[in-house]
């Protein structure tokens, strides 16, 4: 069964994905989905990941409404219909 997850792409990263605002990808964990993404768009890889197992520290990834650091981080399980948002951290207020 396919597990389509929608990844929302922020403006800063859209040039690397041909201007798309969102991309549907398959995978059963956050890491699998993001790896599928960077597999398709290698330019994104070095922007998203610091190394194989760690995201760049200025990238926040949310599964639906929750920061994945409150879940199982990159190992967080995803299921069909989930939304992954990639969002830069922004200043305080």
């Amino acid at each position: 069964m396919s597990l389509a997850v929608t990844v929302l792409i922020p403006t800063a990263l859209r040039p690397q994905v041909g201007g798309q605002e969102s991309i549907d990808l398959e995978g059963s964990s956050v890491k699998q989905v993001l790896t599928a993404l960077t597999g398709e768009y290698p330019e994104l890889g070095k922007r998203l990941f610091k190394n194989d197992s760690e995201l760049n520290r200025f990238i926040n990834v949310y599964l639906n409404d929750e920061d994945i650091r409150f879940l199982d981080n990159l190992d967080t399980a995803v299921s069909s219909g989930d939304e992954l948002s990639i969002i830069p951290a922004i200043a305080g207020g």
């Binding site: 929302l8 922020p10 403006t11 800063a12 990263l13 040039p15 922007r47 760049n56 520290r57 200025f58 990238i59 926040n60 949310y62 409404d65 920061d67 650091r69 409150f70 948002s85 969002i87 830069p88 951290a89 922004i90 200043a91 305080g92 207020g93």
Partner: protein, 443 residues
């Protein structure tokens, strides 16, 4: 003309033109305004600054605007108070309070960052400005936008104090409450800035906004007679002001305006939202975000965007960090009020409570100069104090002198309760107790 060169990524140093920009395209790191300090040498001096207006714009040469200031002409230049009463309480030699609780026009340090951000918004040609806010920033954006004739949209967590909501609504912005905490608001605002062509001051104007926070540090130095305090204690929410106070000190050192006395910068957070303090205390370079749970709502940011830089600056400068529980925050807030006559919000109580802890732990020496940054005003959060302030009941009598006489006769002959305040904030907050008739009386 200005001394601004470019926007530069704080990590990979990629340069960008001066434009609305949230982060570096390469690594999502913040971008910072870069200046030509060589050109400033001999031109930006104590004298050139002292000749400027009595507002934050006296430091215009060190701010990223091109023309004349267009917003916040009266913001900044708040008092630096030598706090001798509080110093005596805390048994320290030299204590100062940088008091942005009386910043103009909305009583918090945010009037500094907004003055710069909205001047920049107008320079860029925006007609709508906005922000994600825990309250104070919304006040400032709404007020300055009203005067500047800009449309404003402020976005806040749904559970803010009443004073924080009305204090914005009065200026007529569009306001949206979000079911969630500040970090949820932030996430949405980041997406809004992506989609709408608005100047969200802490998103796409962030590089300019944050520079405004330097003026808090410039003023401390100037008002100390062009010297730096050996210790500066700064509250941490999103992590904007602490690194910028440090940057201000470094710029003044670079320009030869002050001597480098190796100032230490210390971080203060509420225990219920202390990701950065925990990282510093545990010697970690990265923080783990936290779900905030504190009555100090203005600093309840669990995923501080500039948290990494706070950790870096505190460590580099030889400072340390402390967090304070809600009761300690309220006790410190009341201690500041009863010793120095300053009414700050819980964020200010947090900063003082943490300063006390750092003094007691020896991270701050009692015989060195100390400056505590007070960044917000208590009149905005009276509902919090009404709930947990533990004040004595106030007696009600008829307008008859005999009844007043009766009250007075019940009060201990030591009517000056203040003289009995002990060195601990806990004791200070309890110095008045209710007797049966609800008359304040010294214990």
């Amino acid at each position: 003309m200005s001394y601004v060169q470019s926007l530069r990524c704080k990590e990979c140093e990629t340069e960008y033109p001066i434009e609305p920009r949230t982060v570096c395209d390469n690594d999502f790191a913040p971008v910072e305004v870069a200046y030509d300090y060589d050109q400033m040498q001999g031109r930006v001096t104590r004298q050139s600054i002292e000749a400027g207006p009595r507002s934050l714009w006296r430091y215009k040469d060190l701010l990223p605007i091109e023309g004349a200031p267009l917003v916040g002409q009266w913001s900044g230049y708040t008092p630096l108070i030598k706090a001798d009463n509080l110093a005596r309480e805390l048994s320290v030699r030299e204590l100062y309070l940088k008091d942005d609780s009386v910043n103009y026009p909305t009583y918090s340090y945010k009037d500094r960052v907004v003055s710069v951000a909205l001047t920049k918004a107008i320079e860029f040609g925006f007609d709508t400005v906005g922000c994600a806010s825990t309250g104070n920033l919304a006040h400032s954006v709404a007020a300055h936008a009203a005067r500047a004739g800009l449309r404003a949209c402020v976005i806040i967590p749904h559970d803010l104090e009443q004073g924080k909501i009305i204090g914005s609504l009065v200026f007529g912005p569009r306001m949206v409450k979000i079911r969630g905490n500040y970090d949820d608001v932030n996430r949405l605002c980041s997406q809004i800035a992506d989609k709408y062509n608005w100047a969200i001051v802490n998103v796409n104007l962030r590089p300019f906004y944050t520079e405004g926070a330097k003026t808090h540090g410039f003023e401390i130095a100037e008002q100390l007679g062009w010297q730096l305090p050996q210790h500066t204690i700064v509250p941490v929410a999103g992590g904007t002001i602490l690194p910028k106070v440090h940057k201000a000190y470094e710029e003044l050192i670079t320009l030869g305006i002050v001597d480098d006395n190796k100032p230490k910068i210390h971080a203060a957070q509420a225990e219920g939202c202390s990701p950065v303090v925990k990282a510093i205390q545990e010697g970690k370079e990265l923080f783990h975000p936290q779900k905030p749970n504190t009555l100090a709502k203005s600093i309840a940011i669990g995923n501080p965007a500039d948290g990494y830089y706070v950790i870096d600056v505190v460590n580099k400068s030889g400072g340390h960090a402390a967090s304070a529980a809600d009761e300690e925050i309220i006790d410190a807030l009341k201690l500041l009020a009863t010793t120095e006559g300053i009414f700050t919000e819980p964020a200010g109580g947090t900063t003082l409570a943490c300063a006390i802890k750092l003094i007691e732990s020896g991270h701050i020496s009692r015989d060195e100069s100390i400056c505590i940054c007070i960044t917000g005003n208590g009149l905005k959060t009276v509902d919090v104090l009404a709930e947990v302030g533990n004040f004595p009941d106030v007696p009600i009598i008829d307008a008859k002198l005999t009844q007043f006489d009766e009250l007075v006769s019940q009060i201990d002959e030591t009517t000056t309760c203040q003289s009995k305040v002990s060195a601990s904030p806990q004791a200070a907050s309890n110095y008045c107790v209710s007797v049966d008739e609800g008359v304040p009386k010294c214990p």
